[in-house]
Structure formats: C-alpha cells, structure tokens
C-alpha cells in the first residue's frame, strides 16, 4: 500500500501490463485506461520532480513494477552504491510488485556505455553475478527479477548455455527471472538453437514475469529494437511460454518510436486473449 495516498492500488500484478512511457502520461492520467498494471523504468524516476509526481499518481490507481538497467550485475566494477541507494528510496516510495534488471554489464572502470552488454557464461561469472544479486536483494529487502538479453555475440570458453546459466543463477542467488520472449526468439534465430529448449530449461517456479516486444529483421539477422509490434514468431513462442509458465503476468514493452497508447493497448489485448484462451481481437 502507498503511504499517505488517498486511493491505493493492490500491489499484485496479473494479466498483461504496459511499459509506462512519458508520451502517455497525459492519456493515462486523464482516462485511467483499463490496463491491470504498468512497468516503470526505474532510472527515469530516481531524481524527482514532475516525472516522479506522475508515477506516484499512477501508482495510486495501478500496481507498478520497476525495471532498471543500471545495476550492471555482470561488471567487475563495485556495485554503484549511490545508484542502489536511490533505487532503494524509489522502491520504498512506490512499493512495486517487482524490481528487475538484466543479466548484463553496462559499466567498466566507472564508465557507463548505456548498452546491455552480454557476459560469458562461465562458472566464475556465475559466482560473481550471483553474489552481486544477493547483495542487492539484501539492500532492497526483496528478491529481484533478472531479465535475459538477446546477445549478438557469444563467448568462447563459456561453461554454460545461456538457459543453463540463468537457471543456475536463479538458484544460487535465490532470485526470480523475467523472461523476455522476444529476446529468446531473437537469440535463438541469431545463434541457431531451439527456443523451446530455452523455455523448457528454465525453472517454472522462478519465472515471475514475461516481456513481449518487437524486433527488426535485416537479412539473415534479427536486431532487438523493442520498437515495433510483436511479430508472429514471438506470438507463437509466447503461446508456448503460456503453457510452460501458467498465469505469469506479461508486459508489452516498447522503448523506441513509441506509438499512441491505443496501439500498445491493442497489443496488450492480443496478449491477454492468448493468455486467457479467448479469440484474438
């Protein structure tokens, strides 16, 4: 529950939510659309001012999850304590259902390159990342969700396949998983493996959220742009994921070239129809 709020929203998420994006603030705050929950990008609200005010108002009516990119679990830099402190303050303020970040590194030597870079899936990396996740969970006082990437490169010398690494990471760190279905699809296409093997390998009880997004095809390669509608192949993989991870909430994630809210709601309606077995609109 939000402290001091006039109207409070249950913090549990169900169904298909939308990524919260600034171009949609006005529509959301005026029409209060029939969306069960929103996912806010943590990094946009670590300061304050009007963005945080909007988020607080939205949180009064909707459950929220927080999704970040700055924890840099795969980096060998020390955990950024200032960033973690600000994130913790935000978590205290909005009481999200989930807090998530990525299996990635975004910094080296104190320099941030603002791109989710993949890491080698070695035993050393596994121990390193698991320990960092545990420390973050201790600070935040909750288990967090770790999202899979769609890496364009793989590293020779990896001890694990990606899905093996994620599964073992979730166990060792006692964390949860955010499964980006589009990323699995893109990853499987680019590196020629069976995406169903990926889904089947993950511990179902650890998968707490799904992401759905669009990619871009250029010749024989797929680029994860999260900037268009979900494609047919991803919808098909989502159907498979629904059988494997029953009742896990899903999110329509659209990060670039953001369309009108109605477009995202149409995507969400399709995902919800698939989830509930109703005819697709």
């Amino acid at each position: 529950m939000i402290r001091g709020a006039g109207v409070v929203a249950d913090s549990n998420i169900q169904g298909v939510g939308l990524g919260l994006r600034p171009p949609h603030y006005a529509d959301i705050l005026s029409s209060w659309p029939a969306i069960p929950w929103f996912e806010a990008l943590s990094d946009n609200y670590l300061g304050g001012g009007l963005p945080l005010h909007h988020l607080t108002r939205i949180r009064e009516r909707y459950p929220i999850t927080l999704h970040g990119v700055g924890l840099s679990f795969g980096s060998v830099d020390p955990l950024n304590q200032a960033y973690l402190k600000r994130l913790n303050a935000l978590v205290d303020r909005v009481e999200p259902s989930f807090v998530s970040d990525h299996l990635a590194w975004v910094s080296q030597g104190g320099r941030y390159f603002h791109e989710l870079a993949p890491l080698p899936y070695t035993e050393e990396a596994l121990e390193h990342v698991a320990e960092r996740i545990q420390r973050v969970q201790d600070v935040l006082g909750r288990q967090i969700l770790i999202e899979n990437l769609s890496p364009y490169v793989r590293f020779a010398g990896s001890d694990y396949l990606e899905w093996e690494f994620l599964s073992e990471l979730a166990r060792r760190a006692d964390c949860f998983l955010l499964l980006d279905v589009n990323n699995v699809f893109v990853n499987a296409f680019n590196h020629d493996f069976d995406p169903l093997a990926y889904l089947d390998a993950l511990p179902a009880e650890r998968v707490k959220e799904l992401h759905l997004a669009g990619h871009e095809e250029e010749g024989s390669f797929l680029f994860d742009i999260h900037g268009r509608a979900v494609q047919d192949g991803v919808w098909a993989l989502y159907r498979q994921a629904l059988q494997r991870f029953e009742q896990v909430p899903a999110l329509i994630e659209w990060d670039t070239d953001i369309p009108a809210l109605e477009v995202l709601m149409t995507e969400a309606a399709k995902a919800e129809a698939l989830r509930s077995g109703r005819p697709v609109p």
């Binding site: 990094d43 946009n44 670590l46 300061g47 304050g48 001012g49 009007l50 963005p51 945080l52 005010h53 990119v69 700055g70 924890l71 840099s72 950024n80 960033y83 975004v106 910094s107 104190g110 320099r111 941030y112 390159f113 603002h114 791109e115 870079a117 364009y152 490169v153 680019n190 020629d192 010749g219 024989s220 390669f221 680029f223 670039t256």
Partner: protein, 231 residues
C-alpha cells in the same frame, strides 16, 4: 550468419542511437536549432569526447555544453553553448526532488544569537545562468508547440536567469540586479550575518524587502546553521 564485425557494430549503432535520443530529449531547443543530422553528428562526436560516469541516461548530457564550446562546427553559433547550458539546467531543475516551502516555524525557533550563522538555500536543482545573449527568448520560442516566426536580435543584450522547480513546473525567472547578486550569495552559501554586512541595496531595493518575498514565492526553500568556527 552475420560476421562478427557487424555484430559488434550493432552495439555501436545501438549506443549511438540511445545517446542521441537522450540528448534530443534533454536538449530539444538545440535539436530544433541545428537539425537532426547535425544532432546525430554531435552525438557521435561527444561519444569520442566524453564518457558517462552515471548509469542514468538523464545524467549523460551534463558534459554536453562544455563539449559544444570546443566543437569547431558550431563555433560560429556563439549563443548555442549558452542555450545548451540553459537546457541542461532546466533538465536538472525539472528532475529535482520535491521540496516543501521553507519551514517558518523552524526558522522562528532559531535563537537570535545564531542568526548570523543562518545559511538560506535555493530550491534543490536551482541554478543561476548569465549569458550575453537573450537565451531565454531563444528557449521560449523553440519550446512552444506552434512554430514561431519571431526574429530574435542576438545583440539585444545579455540576461541573467534563475532556473528552478516550483512544485511540478519548471521556471525561468529574471531577477533584478540586487536580486542577482543576492541569489549568487545564497547559492554560494554565504551566511546571513555576512550578507547583512554587505551592500545589496541598489535602485532602492533592499535585502530586507526581498527576503520575505523570496520566501513566499519559493526562491528560498531551506536553511541550515553554519558550523561555528573556533576563534
């Protein structure tokens, strides 16, 4: 299968795109002044010039005004650096934490013998900027939804601006001469006793007249007591 060089190149393209979009969001006026292609070129150049020390993309643009001042292609646009500085300060004020108004009850409880050590503070994220160009007019014209065909005379004289967040709006206020000097003193943390010993009276406006107005309008948001210095 895509060659390794192109796969790495995909990351380079992605980083360029993200940073360019971030700079566009923080510096929309600059974007309108110089256009999309030039913006992308600057984004690529700044990647070579500066590094990001924060995980937040919103913090990335802090070095951009300084970069512009050394970027040869815009040297003929002398006002552009100051416009970028104003945009960065507006962005900081916009994202600054909310603050209540100055606690007058707490201020009234400060014993008179400590008044000399009072240090009044401007709102979080507030900043002062002076320019030889009418950057506030440039900013205004390029941030209104409907394009304006007004012509701005760059030689009309300079300006001094207080950029600050007032509740959920961000303001550009133009202080008087006395106000500017006093604001600079507050921003520097000059204690109240020292301010009283300085001469801020210009054009008949005194500090005693300004302070209550500034408390009411929100320019003064907080106070602390300066640590006592051993004689």
């Amino acid at each position: 299968m895509l060659p390794a060089r192109q796969r790495i190149g995909a990351y380079h393209t992605s980083v360029d795109g993200k940073l360019g979009r971030s700079l566009e969001q923080i510096y929309p006026v600059r974007h309108r002044l110089v256009g999309e292609n030039f913006v992308q070129a600057m984004a690529s150049a700044i990647l070579e010039h500066g590094v990001s020390r924060s995980p937040g993309l919103g913090d990335y643009g802090a070095a951009f005004p300084a970069f512009l001042s050394t970027f040869r292609p815009v040297q003929s646009l002398a006002y552009l650096t100051d416009v970028a500085r104003l945009e960065w300060l507006w962005h900081r004020a916009f994202n600054a934490p909310d603050q209540p108004r100055l606690n007058l009850e707490a201020l009234a409880r400060v014993p008179p013998e400590h008044w000399d050590r009072l240090v009044f503070r401007l709102p979080a994220g507030a900043a002062l900027i002076a320019s030889d160009y009418p950057i506030h007019r440039i900013w205004e014209i390029n941030t209104i939804p409907t394009p304006s065909h007004d012509v701005i005379d760059l030689d009309q004289g300079g300006i001094r601006i207080l950029v600050w967040g007032d509740g959920h709006s961000t303001r550009l206020d133009l202080p008087s001469e006395t106000g500017w000097q006093l604001l600079q003193a507050f921003a520097s943390g000059v204690p109240f006793g020292e301010l009283c010993r300085q001469d801020f009276d210009h054009s008949g406006t005194t500090m005693a007249e300004l302070l209550p107005v500034w408390v009411q309008c929100g320019w003064l948001r907080d106070f602390v007591l300066q640590e006592e210095v051993d004689p």
